[in-house]
């Protein structure tokens, strides 16, 4: 008889751990939001209400879970909450920044802002950032002219010629390290190089281009490398089988296949360097006039102009800075969008 009793008590062990109902997170979430709203009504600031609401959620759900599901379940609920919260925290500055730039900058944009420079020929002439837009475009164009051939050819060497040899490995590694060069060091390099050659007071747009290309080349190499690796070897071998020399295979078969990705990479690299400030501060200088000659004289770019206006710090300068920031952000976003579209258009046709 004793054995039967034992069996009966053993049978009582549950096979499934108790779980919170599926809607539990939603229910606690609603309560937390209500709690936050209550605090808001009671006169706490919006920031405080949101923070305390989130904290309430992060405490309430794990505690409930601890009671029903035990320690492991509670830890899981807590970490899930924290992980999602981290994403929420990261979005806040982005939204705040973009809202700030748009609300403060968009109003400043008009025809005169885009078509006048800082250089006044009459006392009451309006000012604009035309000179900085031209400067940005020329300096970045110069950087692209230097970086694209070097970057693409270097990637071709790494993938098509040097596959696996020591030199290629060293270059790949150093390109990776090079992506971490601080932008101000690139500026110092261009500054040291050009002042050693042309004398101490030298400033020019092309110096800025050299500095930017130092930052741009590694990005272009990495993007091109990755795309060339995706080109199937069958294509290359088919071309060789027809008697095509290697260089022609690369130019006519490999590059067109990878073109979409390469162009995307170049566009993204451009959008990365177009917002660089520090190197241009050192070597491209700043001026009020529109300068079309990249080889001579200071050249203002949008980021440098924003920095300069920030230093002045009065109200009209601040308005100009936000306006210029708005233009810069629009340029960067358009480039990013263009990169995606270009990638779609030139993607190798299937079938």
């Amino acid at each position: 008889m004793t054995t039967l009793e034992e069996v009966q008590t053993r049978v009582h062990v549950p096979l499934v751990q108790p779980r919170l109902p599926r809607q539990a997170p939603a229910v606690v979430g609603v309560i937390a939001v209500a709690f936050g709203a209550l605090l808001l009504v009671l006169g706490l600031g919006i920031v405080g209400a949101v923070i305390l609401g989130a904290v309430a959620y992060l405490i309430a759900l794990p505690v409930w879970s601890l009671v029903i599901e035990g320690r492991r379940g509670a830890t899981d609920r807590l970490m899930t909450g924290l992980i999602w919260t981290s994403f929420g925290i990261a979005v806040v500055p982005l939204v705040s920044l973009i809202w700030r730039v748009v609300s403060k900058g968009a109003g400043r944009i008009d025809g005169t802002f885009l078509s006048y420079s800082f250089f006044k020929t009459q006392i009451d002439q309006p000012v604009g950032v035309y000179h900085a837009i031209i400067g940005t475009l020329l300096v970045t164009l110069g950087a692209a002219i230097i970086s694209v051939p070097v970057g693409v050819m270097a990637a071709i060497y790494l993938i098509e010629y040097g596959k696996g040899n020591k030199l290629a490995k060293a270059i790949t590694f150093l390109v990776d390290v090079m992506t971490g060069i601080p932008s101000i060091v690139a500026g110092l390099f261009a500054f040291a190089l050009f002042t050693l050659i042309f004398g101490p007071a030298y400033v020019s747009g092309v110096g800025g281009s050299v500095a930017l290309s130092l930052l741009m080349i590694p990005i272009v190499v990495r993007a091109t490398e990755e795309m060339l690796m995706l080109v199937p070897d069958d294509l290359r071998e088919a071309s060789y089988a027809l008697g095509t020399p290697k260089w022609k295979t690369i130019v006519r078969i490999v590059l067109p296949t990878a073109l979409g990705g390469i162009l995307t990479g170049i566009t993204l690299a451009t959008s990365r360097v177009i917002g660089e400030t520090a190197p241009l501060l050192l070597i491209a200088g700043a001026t009020d006039r529109t300068n079309m000659n990249v080889f001579d004289g200071a050249m203002t770019t949008l980021p440098v102009l924003i920095y300069g206006q920030n230093l002045r710090g009065d109200a009209p300068a601040e308005a100009i800075a936000w306006g210029a920031a708005f233009i810069l952000i629009v340029i960067v976003m358009v480039l990013n969008l263009a990169a995606r579209i270009v990638g779609k258009i030139f993607a190798p046709k299937k079938g």
């Binding site: 994403f87 920044l97 051939p149 030199l167 971490g180 917002g275 980021p303 990013n336």
Partner: protein, 322 residues
């Protein structure tokens, strides 16, 4: 087949091969040249900074300005400033980035993960000067109450309280600069950790879940061990970025020379990069040499950090390949 015809055919074949050979050699040569250009550029950075900055290490005392007498005395506060801001940035950015990377790789359903990844990429696309502008004109003001609160509530606590001394009335402290830096390095850390997290073998994850692990236990037991070296190198790459970032610190921080533990102080030492951006305008030849010398120090420091980071990644990739 007659002899002349065979000869002609051979000649034409030779000619074709010869022509292709020339094309190949030119193309291969220029590809190699491009590769070597990159090596030369990297060596050039070091050489030109060394040439221009060598004399900056041993100038007469008055060049180093009112606050220092030797190069060491000049660069030490700057190093402290650089590392303080970077460490604050890392402390904030690393947990957030790992969380976001997990959201993208494991927690969010696919239709949320893609937009989330895109939003984080947008953070990376915003130019640094715009972050600086936002930090200086907007964030610094908003953080003033936090500065006061930290000073009032944590300041009296011994040891930790030293970090929160007299607050900057405008919020332009190392703490604020570190927060802006954190936002700027968040995308790079997220991008790399997300990559290594998503490479965790599916079988490991499913095995953990099948043994009854909760989702967090699965992440802790299968994803983190597998991704450890990737996470370490992501943090180091973030550190490299933070050490060299110029504009955020230049525009946000109010500069001074007080070496203290107070991270919300009115005058804290600035970073090397920001110091160069602030001082280059004086354009006195002696000071410029000193600035280039500090730039060389920064370059070697970031080079070392990045080198280590990449080395760790490379080593773990080799181990996985085996």
């Amino acid at each position: 087949m007659t002899a002349p015809a065979a000869e002609a055919e051979e000649a034409s074949a030779n000619w074709a091969r010869a022509r292709a050979g020339v094309g190949d050699r030119i193309f291969a040569g220029s590809a190699l040249a491009a590769g070597l250009t990159i090596l030369a550029a990297l060596a050039g950075v070091f050489i030109f900074l060394a040439i221009k900055g060598a004399s900056g290490f041993t100038k007469p005392a008055e060049v180093y300005g009112p606050h220092a007498e030797s190069f060491l005395g000049y660069v030490l506060p700057l190093l402290v400033g650089t590392f303080t801001a970077s460490v604050i940035a890392l402390i904030i950015a690393v947990p957030l980035s790992f969380g976001i990377a997990l959201v993208i790789s494991h927690y969010a359903p696919r239709w949320i993960a893609a937009p989330v990844a895109y939003v984080i990429d947008l953070l990376a696309a915003v130019p640094s000067v715009v972050y600086g502008l936002w930090g200086a004109f907007f964030l610094a003001n908003k953080l003033v109450p936090m500065h006061v609160w930290l000073h009032d509530h944590i300041g009296p606590i011994p040891i930790i309280g030293n970090l929160f001394g007299e607050p900057n009335p405008a919020g332009r402290s190392v703490l604020t600069a570190g927060i802006v830096l954190a936002i700027m390095i968040l995308p790079i850390i997220t991008a790399i950790t997300r990559e290594v997290f998503s490479r965790t073998p599916r079988l490991h994850e499913e095995a953990a879940l099948a043994l009854g692990a909760t989702r967090w236990e699965m992440v802790r037991m299968t994803v983190f061990p597998y991704a450890r070296s990737g996470m370490v190198s992501a943090v180091m790459l973030g550190l490299g970025r933070a050490l060299g970032e110029t504009m955020a610190v230049t525009m946000v921080l109010s500069v001074g020379f007080d070496l203290s533990w107070n991270i919300i102080a009115t005058s804290s030492p600035t970073s090397i990069a920001a110091n160069i951006a602030l001082k280059y305008k004086e354009r006195s030849a002696d000071l410029l040499n000193v600035l280039v010398a500090t730039g060389l120090v920064l370059f070697l420091m970031t080079f070392l950090v990045n080198f280590l980071a990449r080395w760790i990644v490379g080593r773990s990739e080799r181990r996985m390949a085996r």
